[in-house]
């Protein structure tokens, strides 16, 4: 018998086996690859239409009025011509349209614009009011004798990189993929192995416990890096995802993904330790993952949440992964630039692994 038993060789054969099994497991592939890609496609298309204000112009309005022409031309306003006046009113009350505009010309030649907005969409209403005001002012100025206006607005738009929806969505989906891989993947497999005595059978071979864990982690790391790679590549080539510094940015994102997965694997170990059996896994795992999916800026920016909720978001590890990934991909930040995000995730890692060591069960 060979005296120099190699734990590394044992670990690598376990990694290979675990990886083969993962590739054959449909739910692993669906959760880590198909789901994020579907989300990217769905959100990618929703985001494409941009910001529009829906307006109905009453039928007997003065369509020759220059104000009418300006409204039609505006890129922010979508004029609905199909609704009659009565129907328009009820749609306005429900907030399905944002405003009704009536343009009248009285016998004296003065134009009056009637703007009816709704409390159902106050923000759009006030933006529309500003747009209409601007058009009216311009008309008035053109009619007046005042050739040189007293006050003038000089506007300048600074050249910037266009932040596309995909640039927000893709890092979030990468986070989603990594978190579900770390938590669900690990928890299910370890409980399964424990219950079917597979782990006990491993114990009867000379491999050490820690190498069993390391082997499993390594296979998940390889699998997740592989799925992350596919997500980024598809995002880049098909959806125009921004990689500011090209390959360097890509490389930094992969490193970031690997760090995050190691932290999330810890959550998986905790879940597999707490859960009594396989059917208890989904509820406990969802308790950890769902709030993070919703609150960590995966689908919506954190700044959209009410102020009292934002500190909760600020406490979650996924928040920092999402932020770091966005900074890296869009702003071209280096790993050193996102060190605070990494630090906070590492802090979570220490807490979670300390807990995992306490609750983890072998048998």
């Amino acid at each position: 018998m060979d005296k120099n038993y190699s734990q590394i060789r044992a670990m690598l054969s376990l990694t290979k086996a675990s990886l083969t099994a993962l590739m054959r497991n449909p739910s692993a592939v669906v959760f880590n690859l198909v789901f994020p890609l579907i989300f990217i496609i769905v959100f990618g298309f929703i985001g494409g239409s941009g910001f529009k204000i829906d307006v109905v112009i009453e039928k007997n309005s003065d369509t020759l009025n220059p104000v009418y022409q300006e409204l039609i031309k505006s890129s922010t306003i979508r004029v609905n011509k199909d609704l009659d006046d009565v129907k328009a009113m009820s749609e306005l009350e429900k907030g399905r349209i944002d405003a009704i505009i009536k343009i009248e010309k009285d016998p004296a030649g003065q134009s009056v614009i009637f703007l009816k907005t709704t409390k159902a969409s106050p923000e759009r209403g006030s933006i529309l009011k500003m747009i209409v005001n601007e058009i009216v002012d311009k008309q008035n100025l053109a009619m007046s004798d005042l050739k040189i206006p007293k006050t003038e607005l000089k506007e300048e738009v600074v050249e910037g990189r266009k932040f596309k929806t995909i640039d927000f969505i893709l890092p979030g989906q990468l986070g989603f993929s990594l978190l579900s891989a770390g938590v669900f993947g690990t928890a299910f497999i370890f409980i399964g192995l424990r219950q079917t005595l597979v782990i006990k059978r491993f114990f009867s071979t000379p491999v050490k416990k820690v190498y069993i864990i390391l082997g499993e982690c390594l296979s998940r790391l390889i699998f997740s890096i592989f799925t992350s790679l596919i997500i980024i590549v598809i995002g880049y080539f098909f959806f125009g995802f921004t990689l500011v510094n090209g390959f360097v940015t890509f490389f930094n994102m992969m490193i970031m993904s690997a760090i995050a997965l190691i932290v999330f694997l810890g959550f998986g170990f905790v879940v597999s330790g707490i859960a009594k059996n396989e059917s208890a896994v989904p509820s406990i795992a969802n308790l950890i993952t769902l709030p993070q999916f919703l609150l960590a800026g995966t689908f919506f920016p954190i700044s959209n949440f009410p102020e009292w909720l934002q500190p909760v978001s600020r406490a979650l590890p996924l928040t920092y992964l999402n932020e770091a990934l966005r900074k890296i991909s869009f702003e071209g930040a280096s790993l050193f630039d996102v060190r605070y995000d990494i630090l906070i995730m590492a802090a979570w890692g220490i807490v979670v692994y300390a807990l995992a060591v306490k609750v983890f069960k072998w048998e």
Binding site: S13, K200, F203, S204, T205, P206
Partner: protein, 205 residues
């Protein structure tokens, strides 16, 4: 003795190695093979991949085909463990205990739940392994199984070995003490009838 559980008392030596010492424990693991009752295997893997996994865990180089042929499973090498029949599962389970060419293998109720053909088939396999000089430690509730397979039988009652001897000696001693079966034994058993009617061939599917 399998190094999986802490012993409660006494001393155990496997091939001169003490199970109490951590260092010896690892050496023991290298020379024993264990078949656990109702143990599963890594999900989603084919039989040959499982053997490669254990070969890695034991740090040995083996040909999965050859090993599977030994237990008549080489045609099933691309199947998953859970797709096998009861007898095939037990044969594969025993097969994995042979990977490290152990001096001793432990079989925990290997024939429980098997039909008569599969059971006899497994007996043949166990006798084949035994004839190669491997020590086999087998636990069973079937006394006919112990009578046929074992060189030495220990009967455990309430956690204590109450007797240990060859099957012949144990039976002879009982008869010497005046024991008589209440009913005269027939020359064949109902199991013989079953085998005679259904044939020796093992039915896998």
């Amino acid at each position: 003795m399998e190094t999986l559980r802490e012993k409660t008392s006494g001393e155990v030596f496997i091939n001169g190695l003490s199970v109490d010492k951590d260092k010896d424990q690892n050496e023991i693991k290298k020379i024993i093979g264990i078949q656990l009752q109702a143990a599963g295997f890594y999900p989603n893997l084919h039989l040959d991949e499982l053997i490669e996994l254990f070969a890695g865990l034991y740090n040995v180089d083996i040909d999965p085909d050859e090993l599977l042929k030994l237990v008549d499973l080489n045609e099933k090498k691309k199947s998953k463990f859970k797709e096998l029949s009861g007898g095939q599962k037990q044969r594969f389970s025993i097969c994995t205990t042979l990977i490290n060419e152990p001096k001793i293998i432990f079989l925990d109720e290997p024939t429980t739940g098997l039909d008569p053909q599969a059971r006899r088939n497994l007996w043949e396999l166990i006798q084949r392994i035994k004839s190669k000089g491997t020590t086999i430690m087998l636990t069973t509730h079937y006394m006919d199984e112990a009578e046929i397979l074992c060189d030495r039988v220990g009967i455990i009652d309430n956690g204590k070995i109450i007797t240990i001897d060859t099957p012949d000696n144990l039976i002879d001693e009982l008869v010497r003490n005046g024991f008589e079966r209440p009913k005269q034994v027939k020359l064949a058993s109902l199991e013989d009838v079953f085998i005679n009617l259904t044939g020796h061939a093992i039915r896998e599917n």
